[in-house]
Point group: C3
Chain length 135, copies 3
C-alpha cells in the first residue's frame, strides 16, 4: 500500500509525523512487514530522533545550522535564496528515506523514537511524504 | 519475517553485526528479496563500512568525535550527560535504517562491506536491532 | 526483482542514475510498490538531490570536500591513498541505500529529485549498484 501525506511545516526545524505514519500502518491491516517513509523534496529531509525532550530537537537544529552556514562564499547556487544551498547539504547529510519494521500491527520504534520531517528552508510550507507498507 | 537481535556494545565505536544479519536471511529461506536493518535507538546508529582494516573504524570514530564535540556551549539538552546530545547528532548524521538486497540467499554486500552498529554513548550497553526480510 | 547496474564514474562528484533505476522499475511491471537502490562500496555512496541546476551538485561536492579534508593528521588508514579515508567518512555521512515508493508504475520522486551515485575517490571507476523492486 502506498499513501501520500501532506505535512505542514512552519519553517526550519523538526515536525513529528509518527502518528500520521502509524495511521497508514493501521489502515494497511498488516500485522508484520516493513514501512518506508520517503520525502519528495531536496531541501527538507527525514530523521528518527528522541521525541521526549524538545531541547534535543532545538539542539539538533542549532548544531546543523552552525555546521552548514548560510552565505558561505563557497556556494555558487545562490539564485533561490541564502537558505537553499544549505538546505540541500543538510538534506544530503540526513535522510530522504527511512524504513521501519512493522510488528504486531505497529511500527517497531524504540521507546523514545519519533519520525520527523526536518525542514531546512526558512518559510512555512506543505511537504509531501509518501508512505509504503508491505509484507 | 521480522527478527529482533540484541547487540552488546562496549562503549563508543563500531561493532560488526554482518554475521547475525546474514543468519536471519538464511533462516528466512528467501533466495531473492530485501533485508532491512533498523536500530531502535537515537544515540546509536547503523553504518555499512569497510570491514578489512580496523584502522578505518578507528578513524571514522575519531573524525566524528572531533566534528561533534562534547561540552559544546550550544547544547541545552545536557541532563543525560555530556555524551548524550552529541550521540543524537551523530545518529542523525549516520543511519537508523539500512536496506540490502538479497541475492542467491545471501546479502548482496560488496567484497569489503560489513554492517555495523555504531555506538555513540560512552558506556557499555545492549542495543536492539530489528531485521526484516521480505520478497 | 533484483538487478545489478554497472555505473561508470569519472572521479569525484555526482553521476545521475535516475533513468537506469526507472528502467528497472519499468521492467518489473510493478504498478505499486517499493524500489530500493543499494551501492556495493564504502568509498562511493548514494544521494537524492536536485537535478535541475548543476551548480547544486558542484556546491555539494565542494562543501563536503572542505568538511572532510585529505591529509588530516587524525587519519591512521593512509595505505590506500590520501583520498581513501575521506571517502569512507563521506560515505558514512551520506547514504548506502535509498528506498523510493513506486506509484503508477513509476518512481514517486518529487519534481526536482534525481538519484545520484556520489563518487568520493579521485580516479575513474565502475561502481556496482543493486536495485530491488518489490510490492
Amino acid at each position: 500500500m502506498v499513501r501520500e501525506l501532506q505535512i505542514k511545516v512552519s519553517g526550519q526545524g523538526l515536525t513529528e509525523v509518527t502518528d500520521s505514519v502509524e495511521a497508514v500502518v493501521e489502515d494497511s491491516g498488516l500485522e508484520e512487514g516493513l514501512c518506508t517513509v520517503f520525502i519528495r523534496h531536496t531541501s527538507a529531509s527525514l530523521t528518527i530522533q528522541e521525541n521526549a525532550d524538545p531541547d534535543v530537537q532545538r539542539d539538533l537544529q542549532a548544531w546543523l545550522a552552525r555546521l552548514v552556514k548560510e552565505g558561505d562564499s563557497l556556494f555558487t547556487h545562490t539564485i533561490e535564496g541564502p537558505d537553499d544551498m544549505p538546505a540541500h547539504i543538510k538534506s544530503a547529510l540526513t535522510s530522504t528515506s527511512l524504513s521501519i519494521p512493522v510488528l504486531g500491527s505497529r511500527l517497531a520504534l524504540g521507546t523514545w523514537q519519533g519520525i520527523f520531517v526536518w525542514e531546512h528552508r526558512r518559510h512555512a510550507a506543505r511537504r509531501s511524504v509518501v508512505v509504503h507498507v508491505g509484507s
